[in-house]
Structures are given as C-alpha cells and as structure tokens.
Symmetry: C2
C-alpha cells in the first residue's frame, strides 16, 4: 500500500547511516523485540528495510533521546501499538463501525499518554530555559553597572 515499499530495499548499513546509529544497534533492537524481524528471511541472508522502517526507527530513537525512555519503555510502547494493530486488522475486516470507533478511541488514549509525557518534558525544559535566561539577565545588568 505504501509507495515506499516499491523502492529498492535498504541494507542495514544504509539504515544505520540514515538514522545516525550503527548496524549493531539495529540488530540489537531486533534481538530484543523492539524492531520486527522479517519472518521470511533465511538464516545468514541480509536484512532489508524500507524508508518506512527508517522513519519508524527514527521515531523510536527520538523518544529514547528526547524523553529519556529506556529500551524497555520503548518496547512496552511498541507492544501496545502492535496489540492495537492486531485488533485493527480483526475489526476492520468485520467492518463493524462500533468496533472501529473503539479502536480509534484507543489510539487517542495512546496518543494522549505520549503527549502528556512530551508536554511535561517541554514544561520542564522551558522552566530550565527561563531560569538560565534570568541568570543571563542578572549577569548582563551587572556588566552594565560596571560601565
């Protein structure tokens, strides 16, 4: 469905480059279940990725770095998303609008939870920033009073 899936598959080194990480990290994330393993890859053969996979990994790294989440935290998020994805498949097939609504509402809950985290962080950062600005002002005024 995604246009991205049509293009030449990316190799692990390219993905690492694009996301600013290393092949080892990518394999490790797969190993702990943070990234999915292609079930049809034969032993010893190369992994390949789509641009969507790159975006996915970028997002995980962002959550990790910006929110300070551990890989375990991320895994929980990923698993929750996966669970919702399963339900989505089941329920979209039945085309029952009541169930579909429930799925979307769960997605909203999920997003609200993440937003809460992000906004809390932003608030803390802003407080830190304004304290630094205040100090800056004090130093500047002392500089002025020195002539």
């Amino acid at each position: 469905m995604s246009a991205a899936a049509q293009e030449r598959p990316l190799r692990i080194g390219e993905v690492a480059e694009l996301t600013g990480t290393t092949p080892r990290t990518i394999r490790y994330y797969e190993e702990i279940g943070l990234l999915p393993e292609a079930e049809d890859r034969e032993h010893g053969k190369r992994r390949h990725y789509t641009p969507d996979d790159v975006e996915r990994l970028r997002e995980l790294l962002r959550l990790k770095d910006l929110l300070g989440l551990s890989l375990d935290d991320l895994k929980r998020i990923v698993e929750a998303e996966a669970a919702r994805a399963v339900l989505r498949e089941q329920w979209q097939q039945t085309e029952d609008p009541t169930e579909q609504r429930q799925i979307l509402e769960e997605a909203l809950v999920h997003l609200a939870a993440q937003l809460k985290l992000v906004r809390a962080r932003r608030t803390e950062i802003e407080r830190l920033e304004s304290e630094l600005v205040a100090r800056q002002r004090r130093v500047k005024s002392r500089l002025k009073s020195l002539g």
Copy 2:
C-alpha cells in the same frame, strides 16, 4: 553569606529524599568529583549539607535528565564553573574593573552555551509534540467521519 548556611545541616538521607535520589548516588557523585567533598570532615564522620547544596544537586540532576548529559559532561561543566569561581575570587580582590568585566563576559559565554543546548532540546521536543498533535487530529477526524 547565604541565609541557608545558618540552619541545621542536612544529612545525606534527607538530601536524597529531597532530590529524589539515593545516598549511594550522592556519595558516588562526590567520589567522581561532581559534588565537592568537605575537606574538614574526619574519616567516618557524617556528611552534612545545606539547602544550597540541595539546590545544586537538583540542578545537576535536571541537566542530566532533561538534556541527557552524562556525569562526565556534568563534571566538565562543574569544573568550568569552579575555574571561573577561582578567577572571580582572585580578581574581585584586586578590584580591577577590566578583569571583572572579563569574568562576567565569560559567565555569559558559559550561559549562552547552556542555553543553546536547552533551546535545541526544546525545539526538538516541540517538533515531536506537534507531530503527535497532528496525528491526534487525524485520528479525531476519522472518528468524526465515522459518525
């Protein structure tokens, strides 16, 4: 000079409580030179702290958590501040306004560097936040179109 220094000294457990960390962490920070060690404490006797020390530790923990700085990064910051403090003492005694100005300007450089870090973080956080909001909107509109 600080009013805080007049009050009953705090023990390590209280400081840990107040900063949301543990005594072990505080001792560790002292061990690696992140927190100063009172030079007059006899071997085996208790550490004690002022409310200013608590604030100091809070700030370090904030920089660590919000900016994702390592203890090594923090140590560099602390050392830079200490170096500036030494110069301040020396030069304030001489009461040479030219030197005093230089100290203040160095402080500004220091603050500007930290502010740059903090603002970069805030920008990233804000981008993440707006992406989440966008997703939220999409889900909400799909909900509405479901009736």
